[in-house]
C-alpha cells in the first residue's frame, strides 16, 4: 500500500472549507496585494485577520506547524537586511561596508511580515481547497481545462516529490543506509537521494503522459465534468465585496488617505 499524499488539503467542513474555490482564490490574491500596498503600521490588521480565519476554521495548530520551514526564510530576510542594508544609513556598529542598522532591521521585519502574510494566506487556501474543486471551478469560469490541469499538477508536485523521497529513503534504509543521526550522516544521506528523485520525476512525467493519453485527456474540447462545484449567489456577492474592498484600499493608498 502506498500512502502518497495527494495535496495539502486537510479534510474539514469549516466555513472556509465551504467557500467556493474561486472566492478563496480571489481572497488570496486580495490579501497578497494588501500585504504589499499597506503601509507598515497597518500590517497587523491583515495578520490579525489571518489569525482569526485560521482559528475559526480550526486550522490554528496546523498553520503554525507549516511555518517551521519558511521561518528560516523570514529569519534570513531579517538578517540580510539588518546587516547589509544598502546606502547611507545610520549604523549601530559596522565593519567596513557591513554593519547593523536600525533602518535595515525595520525594513527586514516589514519585508518578512509581508511575505509571511502571503505565505499564511496561501497555506490556508491550500488547506481548505480540494485541488479537484479548484480545477473544476476554474474550468467552469472559462479557464482552459489543460491549463487548469497544469495548475493542479503544480499544486500536487511538492507532495508527490515528498512521497517519492519517502519511498526512496525507505528503500535505502532497507539496504542499510543510515539516514538519521549526526548532521554529517544526514547530509551524506541526501546525496544519493537527489539523482533518483530527478530521474524518478522524469519517469513520472513519462508515465503520467501515457496514463493521460490512454484516458483520452485533451482529445476533445467539449469535455464534460463529473464533479459539480456549486456557486450560489452569496458567493458571487462575497467576491464582489472582496473586489470592491480591494479597489477602495488601493484607491485610499494612492490618494494618500492611508499612509
Amino acid at each position: 500500500m502506498s500512502s502518497r499524499p495527494i495535496g495539502y488539503f486537510k479534510p474539514g467542513n469549516s466555513w472556509l472549507h465551504r467557500r467556493h474555490p474561486v472566492t478563496k482564490l480571489l481572497g488570496l490574491v486580495a490579501i497578497a496585494i494588501t500585504a504589499f500596498v499597506l503601509p507598515a503600521w497597518a500590517l497587523p490588521a491583515p495578520a490579525l485577520g489571518l489569525v482569526v480565519i485560521a482559528l475559526s476554521s480550526r486550522l490554528g495548530l496546523q498553520t503554525l506547524g507549516s511555518l517551521r520551514l519558511p521561518a528560516l526564510l523570514f529569519g534570513s530576510i531579517l538578517l540580510v537586511n539588518a546587516f547589509f542594508f544598502p546606502g547611507p544609513v545610520e549604523r549601530i556598529f559596522s565593519f567596513g561596508p557591513v554593519g547593523l542598522s536600525w533602518t535595515g532591521i525595520v525594513f527586514g521585519v516589514v519585508s518578512a511580515a509581508r511575505i509571511a502574510i502571503v505565505f499564511v494566506a496561501s497555506i490556508l487556501f491550500l488547506f481548505t481547497t480540494l485541488p479537484d474543486d479548484l480545477l473544476e471551478a476554474l474550468v467552469d469560469k472559462g479557464a482552459s481545462h489543460r491549463l487548469a490541469f497544469v495548475v493542479l499538477s503544480a499544486i500536487q508536485l511538492v507532495p508527490r516529490l515528498q512521497g517519492r523521497a519517502t519511498a526512496i529513503l525507505d528503500a535505502q534504509q532497507a539496504r542499510g543506509l543510515a539516514v538519521a543521526g549526526s548532521l554529517a550522516t544526514r547530509v551524506r544521506a541526501l546525496v544519493p537521494l537527489i539523482g533518483p528523485i530527478v530521474l524518478g520525476s522524469l519517469i513520472d512525467v513519462r508515465e503520467r503522459t501515457l496514463a493521460l493519453e490512454a484516458r483520452g485527456f485533451g482529445a476533445r474540447r467539449d469535455r464534460t465534468a463529473y464533479r459539480v462545484v456549486i456557486d450560489p449567489p452569496h458567493e458571487r456577492w462575497l467576491r464582489l465585496a472582496i473586489v470592491i474592498s480591494l479597489l477602495l484600499l488601493i484607491a485610499g493608498v494612492a490618494a494618500g488617505v492611508v499612509r
Partner: protein
C-alpha cells in the same frame, strides 16, 4: 463487418536501438475476437500493444513502417482526438493508468468519461457497471493512492473498460492480480468480446490465455506462430530456453547466524483508520520458507513491511531472536532482514547494475573484497553477470526486478523477504526465482515471499500462510492448505489451488 483492428507488416524500431522491437507483424481482429499474445520478456508484446492502441509513434517515439488501422482509422498517423473512444489500452502497472489526481475511485473512473464528453447524467450508471465488472464497488469512495497494488490494478482496468471502446488492448493486465481477480478479468474479457468488441491481450497467465480464441506467439519481435491457446501456452513455456544451472550458494561471506522471527498480536492502521492487519501472530523458525498468500488488499505487504521496520505496529510487536525491534532503525535491521520491494522502481537508485547491487553490502561496511564477492555471486544467481555495467533504468521491468532482488541477495541476509517476486516475470524468470528460493533454503536461510502465484508458492515453499481481511485464516504445509476440503475457504480470499500438473497435463 470488417476488421476492427488490422495490422499489416508492422515494424517498429526505437531511437538508439539497432534491432527492431517488432518486425513484420500482421494481425486481424474482428468484432467478438479475443486474441492472446504471448512470448518471453523483450519479445515485443508491449510494443505491439502500444502500436495497436496508437501510442507508438504518437506518444512514444519510434520509427514505424507498415500500418495499424483501428475501426477504419489509420492509427499510426492519427491524432489523440481521432483515436479517443475507438481504442482503449490497459497497462500492467497502475502507475501507467491512473490520473493520480482524483480523490476517489469513482472520480478516477469519471476522468475518462469527462474526456470523452459523456453527459454527466450518464456517468454514474457507466461507472457503476465498470466497478461491478471488476468487483471494486466496495472501493468506490476510497482514495486510489491508498489501495493495494492489486486493487489499484483493478481500478486501472475499470478506468479503461468504463470508456466503452470497440477495441480493447491489454498489456499483461493480470500481473498484479490474485487468482480470483485474474479469473474474473478473463471472464470479463470473454464477455466483452461476446458483446461485439475486439480484444487483444498480451499475457502469460494460463487463466486468461485459455479464454482466447487464438494466440500470437512472439519472439524477438517476430510472430513465430499463430496457434490455439494451449499450443501457445506450451510455446510460451518453451521459448527462452532452459535455465542455466543455478550456481550453488557459496560459503557464507558475512557468516551471520540464522534468525528466528516472531510477530505477536500485530495490528496496523493506515491514516483514515483502515485496519490493514489485525492482531496477527506468526512465528518463523530459522531456515523456514514461508509463502504468504491471499487476495489483493488482504494485508500481506503491510505485514511483511513490519519485519524490517519499514512499518511500525500500532499495537503488538515484532521480534528477532526474541528481541523486540521497536527501537531499532530500519538500517540497523537491514543486515538481518532483506526486503525486496514489489515495485523495483521503489528500490533502484544507482546508475549501474553493479553499483546498485553493491549498495547494500557497502552500507554493511564490509571490506571491498567481500563486497566484490557478494556482488559477483548475487549477479550470477540472478543471471545478470553480463549486464553489470548497464543502467538499471534502461532495463525492462522484469530485469529491473531481478536487479532489485540481486541488491538484497548481495547483503546475504539470514532472512529474505520478497514482495511478489514473480510478478511481471515470464516463465523462465519465474523458474529462475524459484531456483533462487531453493538455493537460499538449501543454505539454511529463511525465505518469506508474498505471492499470487499458487503454483510458485506450492512448489518452492514448505509452509503457506493464507491471509484474508488482515488476518491469518490458514497456516500449514502446501499439501494441507491446498487440500480439496479447503477450496471453499481459499475462495473466500480470492485463491484457487495451484493449477500445477493439471494444466501442464492438459497441454
Amino acid at each position: 463487418m470488417s476488421a476492427q483492428l488490422e495490422i499489416r507488416d508492422l515494424a517498429v524500431r526505437y531511437p538508439g536501438r539497432t534491432e527492431r522491437a517488432l518486425d513484420g507483424v500482421g494481425l486481424d481482429l474482428g468484432p467478438t475476437d479475443l486474441v492472446g499474445v504471448t512470448g518471453p520478456t523483450g519479445s515485443g508484446k508491449s510494443t505491439l500493444a502500444l502500436a495497436a492502441a496508437g501510442l507508438v509513434p504518437r506518444v512514444i517515439r519510434a520509427s514505424v513502417s507498415g500500418s495499424v488501422t483501428v475501426d477504419g482509422q489509420d492509427a499510426v498517423h492519427a491524432t489523440a482526438a481521432q483515436l479517443a473512444g475507438r481504442v482503449g489500452i490497459v497497462f500492467s502497472a497502475p502507475a501507467l493508468q491512473l490520473s493520480a489526481s482524483k480523490p476517489t475511485v469513482r472520480e478516477e473512473l469519471a476522468f475518462g468519461l469527462e474526456n470523452l464528453a459523456v453527459q454527466r447524467a450518464d456517468m454514474d450508471e457507466r461507472i457503476n457497471a465498470a466497478m461491478g465488472r471488476l468487483g471494486i464497488t466496495h472501493l468506490a469512495e476510497r482514495d486510489p493512492l491508498t489501495l493495494s497494488g492489486g486493487e489499484q490494478q483493478r481500478v486501472a482496468i475499470a478506468s479503461i473498460v468504463v470508456m466503452g471502446t470497440d477495441v480493447l488492448v491489454l498489456d499483461e493486465p493480470a500481473a498484479q492480480l490474485d487468482p480470483a481477480g485474474t479469473e474474473s478479468v478473463a471472464a470479463m474479457l470473454a464477455e466483452m468480446a461476446g458483446d461485439g468488441r475486439a480484444v487483444l491481450v498480451a499475457e502469460h497467465a494460463p487463466q486468461i490465455l485459455l479464454k482466447t480464441g487464438r494466440c500470437l506467439v512472439l519472439d524477438g519481435g517476430r510472430v513465430i506462430g499463430e496457434t490455439s491457446p494451449r499450443e501457445a501456452l506450451a510455446a510460451d513455456r518453451a521459448v527462452g530456453g532452459e535455465l542455466e544451472a543455478m550456481p550453488a550458494v557459496g560459503p557464507s561471506v558475512r557468516s551471520v547466524p540464522p534468525v528466528a522471527i516472531a510477530v505477536s498480536e500485530l495490528t496496523h492502521r493506515y491514516p483514515g483508520g483502515i485496519e490493514a492487519v489485525r492482531r496477527v501472530s506468526l512465528s518463523v523458525a530459522p531456515g523456514e520458507s514461508v509463502a504468504i498468500v491471499g487476495q489483493n488488499g488482504s494485508g500481506k505487504t503491510t505485514l511483511a513491511k513490519h519485519l524490517n521496520g519499514l512499518l511500525r505496529p500500532d499495537s503488538g510487536y515484532v521480534s528477532l531472536d526474541g528481541k523486540d525491534i521497536a527501537d531499532r532503525a530500519i538500517n540497523q535491521l537491514a543486515g538481518l532482514v532483506g526486503f525486496v520491494f514489489q515495485n523495483p522502481d521503489d528500490q533502484l537508485f544507482n546508475n549501474s547494475v553493479e553499483k546498485e547491487v553493491g549498495f547494500g553490502p557497502r552500507n554493511l561496511r564490509l571490506d571491498p573484497a567481500s563486497v566484490g564477492q557478494l556482488v559477483d555471486s548475487a549477479l550470477a544467481m540472478t543471471g545478470l553477470t553480463g549486464r553489470r555495467a548497464e543502467n538499471p533504468y534502461d532495463l525492462d521491468v522484469s530485469t529491473r526486478k531481478l536487479v532489485a532482488l540481486a541488491g538484497v541477495l548481495a547483503m546475504e541476509p539470514p532472512v529474505l523477504v520478497m514482495d511478489e517476486p514473480t510478478m511481471s516475470q515470464d516463465p523462465l524468470g519465474t523458474r529462475r526465482i524459484g531456483a533462487i528460493v531453493d538455493a537460499w533454503r538449501g543454505a539454511g536461510r529463511t525465505v518469506i515471499a508474498i505471492s499470487h502465484d499458487m503454483d510458485f508458492a506450492a512448489r518452492h515453499f514448505e509452509r503457506i500462510v493464507v491471509m484474508r481481511g488482515g488476518e491469518i485464516i490458514l497456516d500449514a504445509d502446501p499439501g494441507s492448505v491446498f487440500a480439496a476440503s479447503n477450496t471453499p475457504l481459499l475462495a473466500t480470499t480470492g485463491l484457487r489451488p495451484p493449477l500445477g500438473e493439471g494444466v501442464e497435463g492438459e497441454i
